[in-house]
């Protein structure tokens, strides 16, 4: 009963994404990059023993093998992406509204693993454009050159001192997702806007 009331309350109230009020500012950055929030993605933390029965069951639900190479991500069925977070931990990121995935995964892994809905933990900032790597280099020590970080790279690191998950989504570092904790999102958005500011008059960013 309590659960019914809670879920109904959440559905009824208008959801506000952490960066909902930043959309205008983020849209106005110099043209070398394009920054927007991708709110309300379904995010599930999956913990199973790699190579075990539960992992195989989860792979059947996701339609793809769980990546066991460190710092990589793969795409599954229905737009789901599976991000490597640790040797026995993955983050399943699916389009908003895929509420059934949590139950399906949990039923698949049973008692031999854990599936936790962490959708509200992080929001996603999508950064694209030819200057994406240059922008991120302002606050991230990782080399985002495509030779070092090809498509499918997924790293947890610090961006401007905020813990983030970076997902490289194309072949030339021109499309990156930054998953940042909701409480850090506005800080990071402010930092990104500030990092863009010096390129306002740069012709190569136009």
């Amino acid at each position: 009963m309590t659960v019914d009331i809670v879920s109904r309350t959440v559905q009824d109230s208008a959801r506000r994404s952490p960066l909902g009020t930043y959309a205008g500012q983020l849209a106005a950055v110099p043209k070398g990059v394009s920054i927007r929030e991708v709110p309300f993605l379904t995010q599930l933390d999956l913990r199973v023993e790699p190579g075990g029965e539960a992992a195989a069951a989860a792979e059947r639900v996701l339609g793809v093998a769980l990546p066991t190479t460190a710092c990589t991500a793969v795409s599954g069925v229905d737009g789901a992406e599976v991000l490597w977070l640790g040797p026995d931990e993955w983050l399943v990121v699916a389009p908003a509204g895929q509420d059934a995935l949590e139950g399906d995964l949990r039923a698949a892994v049973g008692q031999q693993g854990a599936v936790v809905d962490v959708s509200a933990q992080r929001t996603t900032i999508a950064i694209s454009g030819p200057r994406t790597a240059d922008l991120l280099a302002h606050g991230c020590s990782l080399d985002l050159d495509p030779r070092v970080s090809p498509k499918g790279t997924c790293v947890q690191t610090l961006l401007a001192l905020a813990g983030v998950v970076l997902v490289v989504r194309d072949e030339h570092a021109g499309d990156v997702w930054v998953l940042v904790r909701s409480s850090f999102a506005r800080y990071l958005a402010d930092w990104l806007l500030d990092a863009c500011a010096e390129y306002e008059d740069d012709p190569s960013w136009r």
Binding site: A70, C71, L85, P87, L142, Q156, T157, L158
Partner: protein
Amino acid sequence: MQLIACPHCGPREETEFHYGGQAHVAYPAGNATLSDEEWGQFVFFRDNPKGPFAERWVHSAGCRRWFNAVRDTATHQILAVYRQGEPKPVVA
């Protein structure tokens, strides 16, 4: 600033890591009968060598896994890293 090679993620900036004290401190056997002094030894007393020292580190901004590292306490240079449960490597 130096790079520390996380055994899971590979080389990362030192600021992504946190220190966890001396490695290979075994939980005492027969702990129901330990005296206060023996407990004190286990809880509080650690080696403090000058030179290579096996320590616990955690990649707190990355994979959040604990691992062990041999660090030279005089130069702060990380000489070796290895996963938990693996034997301490011999360093020159």
